[in-house]
């Protein structure tokens, strides 16, 4: 029997520009990019040099601190260039795709016949492992740890989020194989968390997993929220998580023996003229997707959603884990205090506080929000506002302060092991201080990872 969890705290930010449920399959972009920066804490060692020809599934680099984890190319072609930054840090590996896509040798396997170790070895070698992340610390999973459970969220509740029911329609077989593989990886349970409002047969028919339903506002769809309400993490425990669309790539690999690293992304946001879904390769050039579809001329391109995504330029590339591209207006203009500024009526401002009339407007009203911070950075003065959007049994402000002051004991006591930066995205949005809370939590996690794990 599935279990229903209602999340009472949270906030649905109502933005304009939700993607229409129309899918367009784009050809491979000419250049694709695999960036070590997409994997937090990675220390890459290159295996290719400029001019090498690569097939799909060939390793490009590996992690120096965990050498088994291979990062492979999702397309075949030649390594066009390796872009480095300060201290020769590797920023991007660019691959020029060839006409004919060739795959590295591989064969379909029945995952249920593989042992846990065999499955891990295979996934590590063929570049599937980076899809699996771990809590605590929110980095690529350490294959040597034993996870007490694996969590998969089947829905995304963030602003303008893609609908996985639409994206994965018809992929039942790959999805089931993916879940079978996860079941082999843990002695504990595999939790599949579905949206209580949008209960589709696609997910509820999956076998071998524990199905939980979640109802409520964002962050109900965040896997961190779901873990906290089903099986919270204690110190010394590990939980693995994976995005459901990435799981389909894994399932597809074991069904076909080929790495088919394409995913369907939602192109969304108020500055997109025709928001809809596109099927593209991981690491695709954004320009190929966005060309002719951007309305404004001073906009911000975000790979991912508005709360947790990465800022990009139009000629940058889609992030490794991202299922969405959002385009919103930049907000670097002065706003006169009585009209659009801090003392204006504020019907155009979406606010969780009742200082703006947002709460009086009908729920159907959608907003165009820009990147202005709407104020300067200040100390923590207002209390209780973070708690309203943070559905954890954790004191958010106290934990953020512990992270800011590098108080390791404080962070451990207050529950740093249960959270990832994305869990604090809404806190960061609503906070009067305008402090970059996700960044502070990330720094706190890094300290804890270094000192305590």
């Amino acid at each position: 029997m599935s279990r229903l969890v209602s999340i009472h705290k949270g906030l649905d930010i109502r933005l304009q520009g939700l993607a229409e449920k129309q899918l367009k399959i784009l050809p491979n972009s000419r250049i694709i990019c695999v960036s070590p920066l997409d994997f937090h804490g990675l220390n890459p060692k290159l295996l290719v040099k400029e001019g090498d020809s690569v097939k799909i599934g060939d390793s490009l680099f590996f992690d120096k601190t965990n050498e088994a984890v291979q990062f492979v190319t999702p397309a075949s072609g030649t390594v066009k260039s390796i872009i480095r930054g300060e201290k020769r840090k590797i920023l991007q590996v660019l691959i020029e795709t060839s006409e004919n896509q060739e795959y590295k040798n591989g064969s379909a396997e029945d995952v249920s016949k593989l042992s846990s170790e065999e499955l891990k070895t295979k996934m590590l070698a063929c570049g599937l492992w980076p899809f699996i992340k771990q809590r605590p610390i929110d980095v690529i999973a350490d294959q040597n740890q034993e996870p007490k459970a694996i969590f998969v969220s089947a829905f995304d509740s963030s602003p303008l989020a893609p609908d996985y029911n639409f994206i994965l329609d018809g992929r039942e077989e790959d999805l089931q194989t993916g879940f079978n593989a996860l079941c082999q990886l843990t002695k504990g349970k595999v939790h599949l968390n579905i949206d209580a409002k949008n209960d589709s047969a696609l997910f509820s028919n999956i076998k071998g997993v524990e199905i939980n339903k979640f109802a409520g506002k964002h962050p109900a769809g965040n896997v961190g929220t779901q873990i906290h309400h089903i099986d919270p993490i204690n110190k010394g425990e590990y939980i693995w998580t994976i995005n459901v669309q990435d799981l389909v790539i894994i399932g597809n690999y074991f069904n076909t023996g080929k790495l088919n690293a394409r995913r369907t992304i939602a192109l969304s946001g108020s500055e997109v003229s025709e928001p809809q879904y596109y099927n593209v390769l991981i690491g695709s050039n954004l320009d190929g997707i966005l060309k002719g579809k951007v309305k404004g001329n001073h906009v911000r391109f975000i790979s991912g959603n508005v709360l947790t995504g990465d800022q990009k330029q139009q000629n940058d590339y889609l992030g490794y884990y991202h299922n969405q591209i959002t385009v919103i207006p930049e907000g670097d203009n002065y706003k006169f205090f009585l009209t659009k500024g801090w003392l204006g009526l504020g019907f155009d401002k979406f606010s969780n506080s009742r200082l703006f009339p947002t709460f009086l407007l009908p729920k159907s009203k959608q907003f165009v929000l820009d990147t202005n911070t709407n104020g300067e950075e200040r100390a923590f003065v207002v209390t209780g506002e973070l708690e309203r959007v943070f559905p954890f049994d954790i004191f958010p402000m106290q934990l953020v302060k512990a992270a800011m002051t590098k108080d390791i004991d404080g962070m451990e006591n207050l529950g740093i092991y249960e959270v990832a930066p994305e869990d604090f995205a809404l806190c960061e949005y609503v906070c009067t201080t305008k402090i970059n809370i996700q960044d502070e939590i990330r720094k706190g996690l890094d300290i804890v990872a270094e000192e305590c794990l």
């Binding site: 002065y334 200082l355 995205a425 960061e428 949005y429 960044d439």
Partner: protein, 413 residues
């Protein structure tokens, strides 16, 4: 058509201001001629225009709320208290001049309002002038623009003062509160105790003769030509029940002098902004609708005061003990303290449960001090300051409860 004309006119003014801003900005950036004055420039510029700062890390969009708007909402909530305070001050000044406590309250309104303004507005000017001056000084030393906390403190300080307080005392008290109460801890958001109450407490202990007794609560009592006239307050009169020479023979004498409805509306002598429970409640409404004030603290503070009042009623044996508990909530600064002082988020408890305990104990203590210690006719200030000091301990236990829950999970797992 007319609207369009107005709009373009307005837009032109805004554009004009924006242009001035653009022209002046380079003079104040780092390394430029007036670099030192950047905090002042930035304060004025960010007041007129929300700055063009954009998100660089993390969430790309941010809530419209900022500290300026939050603080402005508290000032708006204080306006009813201020207006009523001005009128009330004007009324009691006239009473003192004529030596007639039975002067009709609502007659001669404009005259009273005018007289009240002459007394109250200088208090506000001194408080803001001294406070903002010091804040700017610290801002320039630390290289940051004015943080908005004092905008509220600067309004609260005059409202907690007796009408006849000398202006220099207000200045000294404000300076003490801003420097010792706030800036040495790091400025807005870092203070341990409420800044406005620090100012009042400073005067209370530094100049006791000017801050207590029955001379100061009404303007003009110093100069009144009527012999034997006193400007005593309800609390001062009540405190005499605990001494050998009560002013009233029994409680009925008191309740006919200060009726419940008059006390609720605020037609009694007292500090400038504190007398009207009604005006305070209007302010509370604004704070609660906008979500700036904490309902938990306000409600539990009132409940705590009521509980102590009822407990004293049960004990009885003295007219002050027998004063109906509801009276305690409408006289003195109880409502003002509960709504505007105790709810200061920086010095109050910060956890949801902590706020309930903090408010309840604060209300309880306020009435306890008020009734049982005749040396301090008003206990609200001392109670809130004491709870400010205790708030971190309350929070500590609430947070420790959360930590213990987490530790217990490991043991049972």
């Amino acid at each position: 058509m007319l609207k369009n004309v107005c709009n373009t006119k307005k837009n032109r003014t805004v554009k004009f201001l924006e242009n001035i801003l653009h022209k002046m900005e380079p003079n104040f950036v780092k390394g430029a001629k007036y670099e030192k004055w950047n905090p002042l420039f930035e304060t004025l510029a960010t007041f007129a225009f929300t700055p063009k700062l954009v998100t660089t890390k993390g969430a790309h969009i941010r809530d419209g709320v900022d500290l300026k708007r939050t603080m402005m909402m508290v000032i708006i909530a204080l306006i009813p208290c201020l207006l009523f305070g001005i009128y009330n001050t004007g009324h009691w000044q006239m009473v003192a001049e004529l030596g007639n406590r039975n002067l009709p309250y609502w007659e001669n309104g404009l005259n009273k309002f005018w007289n009240g303004s002459i007394i109250v507005l200088p208090l506000i000017v001194v408080s803001y002038g001294v406070g903002l001056g010091i804040e700017f000084l610290f801002g320039m030393l630390r290289g940051h623009s004015l943080h908005e906390g004092f905008l509220v403190s600067g309004m609260l300080i005059p409202l907690t003062m007796p009408a006849d307080v000398p202006l220099w005392m207000v200045g000294v008290a404000t300076a003490f509160a801003v420097i010792i109460g706030k800036e040495i801890f790091g400025g807005t958001g870092m203070n341990i105790i409420n800044v406005a109450l620090t100012a009042r407490a400073f005067l209370f202990f530094a100049y006791p003769t000017s801050m207590s007794g029955d001379k100061v609560w009404m303007a003009g009592t110093e100069t009144t030509k009527v012999d034997g006239f006193t400007g005593s307050t309800a609390l001062g009169d009540l405190a005499t029940f605990m001494s050998d020479k009560p002013i009233f023979q029994n409680l009925n004498g008191f309740t006919s002098e200060y009726t419940l409805s008059e006390s609720f509306i605020g037609m009694i002598p007292g500090s400038v902004g504190e007398t009207s429970t009604l005006a305070c409640l209007i302010g509370a409404g604004i704070l609660l609708i906008t979500g700036v004030g904490s309902l938990r603290i306000m409600a539990s503070f009132f409940v705590g005061g009521l509980a102590m009042g009822l407990l004293l009623n049960l004990m009885g044996g003295n007219p002050y003990f027998e004063l109906p508990a509801v009276y305690h909530l409408v006289i003195g600064s109880f409502a003002f303290g509960a709504i505007f002082m105790a709810t200061d988020p920086v010095s109050a408890a910060q956890t949801a449960k902590g706020k309930l305990v903090y408010g309840f104990l604060g209300g309880l203590l306020a009435i306890l001090i008020r009734v049982l210690n005749p040396a301090y006719p008003e206990g609200v200030m001392l109670a809130i300051l004491f709870m400010n000091i205790s708030a971190p301990i309350i929070d500590y236990y609430v947070i420790q409860g959360n930590i213990n829950r987490r530790l217990k999970r490991i043991k049972t797992a």
